[in-house]
């Protein structure tokens, strides 16, 4: 069976390319940012191991034009094509599926992703797709489904593998029931890095201080907490699954020793905490991987890392900590169900930086309730954190309701959505009614990113050089110019459409 796992190049009117970014968001960028789709890469590996002929078909990372990508895919004549969709590119995918089914009528097209899993019938109505996967465990579902497709001619009516919507004929489809929420991630294979051409993703990524960098195979898929209302990893249909520490350590060792990876970031969900995090750090130390010139990083929540754990992680050469601040006012944190208070963010950042870690804050602006005072507090707090050295880098986005997350549903219920055109959900402009003019939020983005050129911020980076830590030198002299280039790009993307 020939299976293509495909990411088509999608170019907007401004010549920007739609790229999957953090948290499976799709944003349009001029400067490339290539993130390896971890779960789909595990699926590709697993299907190859089962004997499928797998085509890892990321047209973006392969820097193809759309037409080249499309023609090559059609010429390959796959039996199955798998796509990953999200709100701002749904309409594109619906058109694409129509064209593909026209050119390859016998090919089974499978849609995955957080938008269509919540609204499967919408996609079945809107295009000729054959199967919509409702599970976030795409690797597990495809591993069960594809051998079945190959063996059962009557799969459309007979298949009982849960978590699918299957087209029976043009106007009829059926559900196979709720999917399995908790999977044993130890069963899913380590990503075959050669199969997915890992080096294409190893350099153009703002989160890597050293390159080549890479993302680890899912350690915790989705989120242990899973309650933040804006996040895809939230909803009654989702929980988290976990991989064993030993298994994960084995992969890190292999990435360093066989592939020469110099920075490993785990962003497949919120990373280990507590005893598992400490066991992981001890494992890195026991195996001597902390002395191999490779930094490690992870995504966490405020409230998850105690000082003992952070100290161990620092000893094990952990550097990058991505953590969602989102806002600095208590009301917004409560409404977003963040599960912590502002003071906890300060306490956690103090601990991270005390041990030399580099916290990276993610912030959003433009919540439909966000007042001028709340916005100003967020800008002031974040600038204060950056200037005090409690955070090293930041990333600001416009809070955009997406993929039928609780925040998306809340915006619909509150009647604050200014459009229902999915093309407009691309995070390039605010699409909710807000209590103050949208320009105020765009200005806040400029102010937040502007901290990078504040002399006090630069002076602090210079002071860090006395620490004697290589990472501080690298941060200023190697990473600095790259970061400024990306900052200009982000500010343009987020503020020029208003």
């Amino acid at each position: 069976m020939k299976v293509a796992i495909s990411y088509p190049p999608i170019v907007n009117a401004r010549g920007q390319v739609a790229m999957v970014s953090q948290n499976r968001n799709v944003q349009y960028f001029k400067i490339p940012t290539f993130l390896l789709p971890i779960v789909h890469a595990q699926a590709a590996t697993w299907l190859r191991d089962l004997g499928c002929e797998v085509r890892w078909d990321d047209g973006n990372a392969q820097r193809k034009s759309f037409e080249t990508w499309y023609e090559e895919l059609v010429a390959w004549r796959p039996d199955v094509v798998v796509f990953e969709s999200t709100t701002p590119v749904m309409k594109f995918y619906w058109r694409l599926v129509g064209r593909l089914k026209n050119d390859l009528p016998k090919t089974v097209v499978i849609m995955t992703g957080y938008h269509s899993m919540r609204q499967p019938e919408e996609t079945l109505r809107a295009c000729a797709v054959d199967v919509v996967v409702q599970s976030n465990h795409v690797d597990f579902v495809l591993r069960r489904l594809l051998p079945y497709l190959g063996e059962q001619a009557d799969w459309r009516t007979a298949c009982t593998i849960e978590g699918l919507f299957i087209r029976v004929d043009e106007n009829v489809w059926r559900s196979t029931g709720t999917f399995k929420r908790v999977e044993d991630l130890n069963l899913s294979p380590d990503i075959d890095r050669d199969l997915v051409s890992w080096r294409r993703y190893a350099f153009e990524n703002g989160n890597f201080l050293r390159t080549p960098g890479t993302y680890a195979t899912s350690v915790i898929r989705d989120c242990t907490f899973g309650k933040c209302t804006f996040c895809r990893y939230n909803g009654p249909d989702l929980t988290f699954s976990v991989r064993s520490v030993e298994r994960s350590l084995d992969e890190y060792q292999r990435l360093i020793e066989e592939y020469g990876v110099r920075e490993i970031f785990d962003d497949s969900g919120v990373w280990y905490r507590g005893e598992q995090a400490r066991a992981f750090a001890r494992g890195i130390l026991d195996r001597g991987l902390h002395r191999r010139g490779c930094y490690f990083g992870f995504n966490t929540r405020f409230g998850y890392m105690d000082e003992e754990t952070v100290a161990l992680l620092a000893k094990a050469n952990f550097r990058f900590v991505l953590v969602g601040l989102e806002a600095a006012d208590e009301e917004t944190l409560l409404r977003l169900h963040k599960g912590y208070l502002p003071h906890q963010a300060y306490r956690n950042l103090e601990v991270f930086t005390r041990y030399g870690l580099h916290p990276h804050l993610t912030i959003m602006v433009g919540y439909y309730w966000q007042t001028a005072a709340q916005l100003e507090l967020t800008v002031r707090t974040v600038r204060d954190l950056m200037l005090k050295g409690l955070a090293r880098t930041l990333q600001v986005t416009l809070c955009t309701p997406l993929d039928f997350t609780p925040y998306h549903l809340e915006c619909q219920e509150a009647g604050v959505l200014l459009t229902d055109d999915y093309d407009a959900f691309d995070m390039s402009k605010l699409i909710v009614r807000t209590p103050i003019p949208h320009e105020a939020y765009y200005q806040a983005i400029r102010d937040l990113y502007g901290v990078a050129t504040d002399p006090r911020f630069v002076a602090r980076q210079l002071r860090y050089l006395t620490s004697g830590r290589a990472r501080d030198w690298e941060f200023l002299f190697r990473y600095g110019w790259r970061a400024l280039r990306r900052v200009r790009n982000h500010v343009y993307n987020l503020t020029s459409n208003g």
């Binding site: 849960e162 978590g163 029931g177 709720t178 999917f179 399995k180 929420r181 908790v182 999977e183 044993d184 242990t224 907490f225 309650k227 909803g235 009654p236 929980t239 988290f240 699954s241 976990v242 507590g274 005893e275 400490r278 409230g303 998850y304 890392m305 105690d306 000082e307 003992e308 208590e330 944190l333 409560l334 409404r335 169900h337 963040k338 599960g339 912590y340 208070l341 003071h343 906890q344 306490r347 956690n348 601990v351």
Partner: protein, 217 residues
């Protein structure tokens, strides 16, 4: 009511060396049975998720907690004294019984260790519930407050000692006692147990729509 409020510890009731029930004042907090909160000592840098153990109608809030070695939050809460302040946020979650009053509806609850907390909350909140509760524990002492459950409904699956209702794991018990396929099955606890029991119940014919899962570790 959602939010973060200041609450004060009323008592800490030890159940074993490592496991305890912390009781705090309600302070207007409202939740549905099966929901959880984040809880931590006041102004601490860390917190953790804990399911509500008491009935939401009780005049206090209780949480069943196991303090593993090195667990900063749980160990600090275990040491808490009456009057100490804690930070609580929530409630969160959808691990709920949608129609508890439905006549003829039967439930299977499967928990390991402190994963029994939401089931304790369910049976306190809905006394007429027709349920069977399987509790996977290592020792007899881990059968936390089993007198809270109606006679014959609680089965402790004790893996390391004789003398309980059943010697072995919950998966062993389920293999010997297949489940009626119309039961609504709720699984809570360690993710490996949840994944294994889910597969077992599916193999026994329980539809996936009748399986609800909650994991915290």
């Amino acid at each position: 009511m959602e939010g973060t409020l200041r609450h004060f510890v009323q008592s800490v009731r030890p159940l074993t060396d490592a496991t305890f029930v912390i009781r705090i004042d309600r302070h207007g907090f409202r939740a549905l049975p099966g929901q959880h909160v984040t809880l931590g000592p006041h102004r601490s840098a860390t917190n953790r998720e804990y399911s509500l153990y008491s009935s939401p109608e009780a005049p206090y809030l209780e949480f069943l907690i196991r303090a593993r070695p090195g667990s900063e939050t749980a160990c600090a809460l275990q040491r808490a004294q009456p009057g100490d302040e804690v930070d609580l946020a929530g409630p969160y979650g959808d691990f709920l019984i949608e129609r508890p009053a439905d006549p003829g509806r039967r439930y299977l609850f499967v928990a390991t260790g402190a994963g029994i907390a939401p089931f304790h909350c369910f049976v306190r909140s809905y006394p007429s519930l027709d349920y069977r509760l399987l509790h996977g524990v290592a020792t007899l002492a881990d059968r936390y407050e089993r007198e809270a459950y109606a006679p014959g409904r609680y089965v402790a699956c004790v893996s390391r000692e004789d003398g309980g209702e059943y010697r072995g794991r919950v998966t062993d018990y389920l293999r010997e006692h297949p489940v009626e396929t119309d039961r609504l099955c709720y699984l809570c606890g360690h993710s490996a147990m949840v994944a294994r029991v889910y597969d077992q119940l599916r193999e026994q014919g329980v539809p996936s729509d009748n399986l609800l899962t909650e994991t915290f570790f």
